[in-house]
Amino acid sequence: MHDYIVAAILLGLAGFILTEASRFPPPPPHAMASSATFPRVIAALLVFFVILLIIRTVRRRSSNLETSGIPLNVRGVIGIASTVVYLLVVRELGFVVSTTAILAIYAILLQKERLRFLDSVVVPLIMVTIVYLMLVLLRVSIPTGILF
C-alpha cells in the first residue's frame, strides 16, 4: 500500500514540475535550452520510475511479498508533534527554556520503565548550557523570548 502512496505523491510532484515549467520564460535566442528543459527531464524520469514501481508492486502484491505495518506509534507521534510545537514557540518562549523542555520530553519518551531524574532533567539542563555557551562563543544571536 505504501508504495502506491509514494507513487501518487511522486506523480503529483511530476505534475507540479510540468505545470510550473510551462510557465517559465521561453529559451533565449540561439539557446537550445531554457529553465524548463531540465525540470521536464526530471519529471519524465520520475513518471518512468513511478510506473516501474507500480508494476513491481502489483506483481509483488500478487505473490504476497509486500510488507505492511504502521510506521509510527504513539511515542513517535508525540515526539514529532512536540518538535513542531517547539518550533512554533521557540521564538516566544526563548531558546533556553524551550530547548530544555524539548530535550526533557525526548528523554522521557525514550525511557520505557522508570523515569530517571538524571536523564529527564539533569542531562537536558547540561546540554542546553553547553550549546548555549557554544552559541555565545560563536556570536550567534539566540531567541530570548519572554522568559530567557
Binding site: S35, P39, L46, N73, R75, I80, K112, L135
Partner: protein
C-alpha cells in the same frame, strides 16, 4: 606534488591543526563505537559549527572523523561482539573469540596496527593516483562533466538494494537541488518562500536526514529492540590494555597487511562499496589462501588483520573519485562533498585546479590520522567501550541538542530548523519503507552541476544530444552509466538462475 605535500606539512606544524585532527579521530571513534550511530551522523551534527573555523582546520577535523569512524567500530566488535560500524562486522569473527580467550588487548593491538598500516598505505595510493586522475579530469568540458555526474548518480543508485527506489530518491534529491534561481535567472519551485530563493538549504537537509531522523527513530522504537548503545545481557565493557603483536607475528602478517591495503583501497574507490564489503572481501581472500583456514572464526590473527586493514584502507580509495571527480564513494563522502560546497569550494576537477592547498592538507590528514589510532588504542579504548554502553535516554537528547542548535546556527533562523525537522520526518518514513537517503543528498549536491553542464552542452551542440557520445571521455562515462544501470538486472537474473539450479 612534492611542494604541495611540503606546504601541507608546514600547516601541520600548527598545534591547533594537529589538535583538530586528533579531536576528529576521537569523535569519529566514539560515534562509530556506539552501535546505531555513525561517523556520517557525527559529520552532519558537526558540519554547521565548522562555519566558525577556517576551511583547512574544518577539513582536517572532518577527515579525522572519517578515519576514526572506521577505526572505532572495531573496539566494541572485539570487546562486546557488537560491531559499532558496518565495516567492523568481519572483525567480530576473530576479534571476539580472541577476547574470549583473554587476548582482548592483543586483538586491539593487531586491529590497531592493521588499521594504521591499511590507512597509511591507502593514503599514499590516494596521493599518487588522485594527482594523475585530476590531470585528466581537468580537461573535462561540459559534456564530460554532464556524463560524469550522471554516472556518479547512477553508480550510487545501482548499489542500492532496490534500484527503482534508489532512482526515485535520487530524482527527488535532484528536484530539491533545482529549486531556487537557475542559470537563466528564473525563480523556480520556491513555493513563495524567501528562504528557498537560493535553493533547498543543504545543511538543514543533511542534519535532518542523518541526525534528526535518529532522534525520531529512537523515540519511535523505544522498547521495541536493543537500544542504541546498550549492552546485551552478560556483556562486560571491560577490556585489557592494548598490546602490539610480536616481531614474529608482524612478519607473519606482512602479506596480509599488503593484500588488505590493496583490496580496501580498490573497493573504496568503487562508488557505493564501503568498509563492510572491503573487510569481507579481504577476509575471504585471506581465508582462501591461508594454510590454516580452520582457524578463521576461532581467533585467527590473519582473519582479524585482513578485515581491519581493508576496512581502514577504504578512506584513501573513496577519496580518489570524491576529490578528483566529485563522485562520492559512500554516505560519508557524499556529505563531505556537501561540506566543500558549504565552505565555498567547488566540487570535482575544479577543486583540484583551484584549491591545491586544501587538497594536499586532506591527503596529509588521511595519512597522519592513522597515527592517532595508536594513542586511542592505548589510552581511550576502555573509556570508548564504556561510552558505547550509554543509555538512549542520555545519548539521543545530546544528538537532538546539537542537531537543533546546529540547524539554527547556520542562518540564525527557525525556518532552517523547520526544514531540518521536515526532512527528518521524511527520512523516518523513507527508512521505514526502505527508501535510501544517500541518493537524495547526492542528487541535491550534484543537481546544479548536472543541469548547468547539460544546458552548456546543448548550447555547444546546437541542441543535439549526440555530443555526449561523440567525445571519447564522455562516451566512456555514458558506457559506464549503461553498464552500472544494467548491472542490478544482471545480478538479479544471476541470483534467480542460481536459485533455480539449487531447486
Amino acid at each position: 606534488m612534492i611542494e604541495g605535500v611540503a606546504g601541507a606539512l608546514l600547516t601541520f606544524a600548527n598545534p591547533q591543526i594537529l589538535l583538530m585532527l586528533v579531536a576528529g579521530v576521537l569523535v569519529g571513534a566514539v560515534f562509530s563505537a556506539i552501535p546505531g550511530l555513525t561517523s556520517t551522523l557525527a559529520l552532519a551534527l558537526i558540519l554547521p559549527f565548522t562555519f566558525a573555523i577556517e576551511a583547512t582546520a574544518a577539513f582536517v577535523f572532518m577527515i579525522g572523523l572519517f578515519g576514526g569512524g572506521l577505526y572505532g567500530g572495531m573496539l566494541t566488535a572485539i570487546a562486546l561482539n557488537i560491531p559499532g560500524a558496518p565495516g567492523s562486522v568481519a572483525t567480530t569473527f576473530d576479534g571476539y573469540p580472541l577476547y574470549l580467550k583473554g587476548q582482548g588487548g592483543k586483538a586491539i593491538g593487531i586491529a590497531t596496527l592493521s588499521s594504521v598500516i591499511g590507512g597509511m598505505g591507502s593514503a599514499i595510493i590516494l596521493t599518487l593516483a588522485a594527482v594523475q586522475l585530476a590531470r585528466i579530469a581537468l580537461r573535462f568540458g561540459p559534456p564530460e562533466t554532464f556524463a560524469l555526474t550522471v554516472f556518479g548518480m547512477i553508480a550510487v543508485v545501482s548499489i542500492c538494494q532496490d534500484t527503482v527506489k534508489g532512482a526515485l530518491c535520487g530524482l527527488f534529491g535532484v528536484f530539491l537541488g533545482i529549486m531556487g534561481v537557475d542559470l537563466f535567472g528564473t525563480f523556480r519551485f520556491n513555493f513563495g518562500m524567501r528562504e528557498l530563493i537560493s535553493g533547498t538549504p543543504l545543511l538543514p537537509t543533511v542534519v535532518g536526514m542523518f541526525a534528526m531522523v535518529k532522534v525520531f527513530q529512537s523515540i519511535n522504537d523505544t522498547g521495541k529492540e536493543l537500544k542504541t548503545g546498550s549492552l546485551p545481557k552478560g556483556a562486560s565493557p571491560s577490556i585489557a590494555r592494548m598490546q602490539f603483536p610480536t616481531p614474529g607475528e608482524m612478519k607473519r602478517l606482512l602479506g596480509t597487511f599488503i593484500r588488505g591495503t590493496l583490496i580496501g583501497t580498490f573497493i573504496g574507490f568503487l562508488p557505493g562499496a564501503g568498509g563492510n564489503i572491503a573487510a569481507f572481501t579481504a577476509y575471504n581472500v585471506e581465508k582462501r589462501i591461508s594454510k590454516t583456514p580452520d582457524e578463521f572464526g576461532r581467533g585467527s590473527l590473519e582473519g582479524l588483520a585482513s578485515a581491519e586493514t581493508a576496512n581502514n584502507a577504504v578512506p584513501g580509495g573513496s577519496l580518489i573519485p570524491t576529490i578528483t571527480l566529485g563522485i562520492p564513494g559512500d554516505q560519508f563522502t557524499a556529505v563531505l562533498l556537501g561540506a566543500f560546497l558549504i565552505h565555498g569550494l567547488p566540487i570535482g576537477p575544479l577543486l583540484f585546479r583551484d584549491h591545491q592547498d586544501v587538497i594536499y592538507i586532506i591527503f596529509l590528514s588521511t595519512f597522519l590520522m592513522n597515527l592517532v589510532f595508536i594513542p586511542i588504542g592505548f589510552f581511550a579504548s576502555r573509556p570508548i567501550v564504556r561510552v558505547a554502553a550509554t543509555r538512549n535516554s542520555i545519548l539521543i537528547p545530546i544528538i537532538a541538542a546539537f542537531s537543533l542548535t546546529g540547524m539554527y546556527a547556520i542562518a540564525t533562523t527557525v525556518t532552517n530548523m523547520g526544514i531540518g525537522v521536515f526532512f527528518g520526518v521524511v527520512a523516518l518514513f523513507m527508512h521505514r519503507y526502505d527508501y535510501p537517503v544517500a541518493p537524495v543528498i547526492l542528487g541535491l549536491i550534484l543537481s546544479t552541476l548536472i543541469e548547468d553542464s547539460l544546458v552548456q552542452s546543448l548550447i555547444m551542440s546546437g541542441g543535439s544530444v549526440m555530443i555526449f557520445v561523440t567525445r571519447p571521455i564522455s562516451l566512456l562515462f555514458v558506457a559506464l552509466s549503461v553498464l552500472f544501470a544494467i548491472l542490478p538486472m544482471l545480478r538479479r537474473q544471476g541470483k534467480q538462475a542460481t536459485n533455480e539450479m539449487k531447486q
